[in-house]
């Protein structure tokens, strides 16, 4: 087992543990947010192993930095009490969970038994700033413009939603 493969499994275990810690921790929402950070950083490590360096950088910057800090701000602003799992409809939840688990098990078995074609060797500078930047500003320039518009709409929407009184 070479070092990248070992690192992949280590990051995979960390991300699964982090996400489970986020979902199953009912006592403290701040701890949930911290577990989310752990998951995001582990996923960024996997992105680096998959030669997506820019994506890893943005994963840490946007998810590990901005989004989780936003979550933490709101958690501390609201001063929440403890939380428990949803009562009632336990049978429905169990049935749904069983069904979803079966579907995912089938999908996993299918994926793990299918031999995907071997990945090609990557060209020089793959996933680096230069190549991603060129792709973003030539083929996908419309997408960049539209995400700018989307962010503007999100800013305005968030301001209006969280304002006490709209004048």
């Amino acid at each position: 087992m070479t070092v990248p493969i070992f690192l992949f499994y280590a990051f995979a275990v960390i991300s699964i543990l982090g996400s489970l810690g986020m979902v199953l921790n009912t006592r403290n929402t701040v701890t949930s947010a911290m577990s989310l950070v752990v998951t995001m950083v582990a996923l960024a490590g996997i992105y680096v192993l998959l030669e997506a360096h820019i994506v890893a950088v943005f994963q840490i910057m946007v998810y590990g930095g901005a989004i989780v800090v936003l979550f933490l701000f709101v958690v501390m602003l609201l001063n929440l009490s403890t939380d428990e799992f949803r009562p009632g409809r336990q049978r429905l939840v169990k049935l749904g969970a069983m069904l979803l688990g079966l579907i995912v098990l089938a999908a996993l078995l299918r994926v793990l038994t299918t031999a995907l074609p071997a990945a090609q060797p990557i060209p020089e500078g793959f996933g680096g700033f230069a190549q991603v930047g060129i792709a973003l500003y030539t083929d996908y320039v419309l997408l960049v413009e539209m995400s700018g518009l989307l962010l503007l709409a999100a800013i305005v929407g968030a301001l209006i939603l969280s304002k006490r009184k709209i004048d």
């Binding site: 991300s15 699964i16 979902v23 799992f85 074609p117 991603v132």
Partner: protein
């Protein structure tokens, strides 16, 4: 070389943990975090498949990674608006329990 079958498997597992959070938790903030987790699982699949088909017709292809960048943008916008909704909900109801906001549910 990372085995891509296992990358896709990890993506499925993370997505299912996200679904579990959305279905079972009552705290709206944790539900939003679980949605983020599901988006991240899909991102992982995108990056894995982009690594698999890194070269198309002799030239490098970065479509999957560009998609991931756009998804990150969209999820940042989604979190901003979602947390705005959480704040106004807390202001009106004094709680973020989604069981208490089920007026439109069947």
């Amino acid at each position: 070389m990372v085995p891509l079958e296992h990358v896709i498997g990890l993506s499925a597992i993370l997505f299912m943990i996200g679904v579990l959070g959305v279905v079972t938790r009552r705290n709206l903030i944790v539900v939003l975090m679980s949605i983020e987790l599901m988006l991240n699982a899909v991102n992982l699949a995108f990056v894995g498949f982009n690594r698999l088909w890194a070269v198309v017709d002799g030239s490098p292809s970065l479509d999957g990674q560009i998609f991931v960048l756009i998804v990150i943008t969209v999820s940042a916008a989604e979190v901003a608006v979602g947390l705005g909704i959480v704040i106004s909900l807390f202001r009106n109801r004094d709680s973020v329990d989604i069981e208490e906001v089920s007026l439109l549910k069947w």
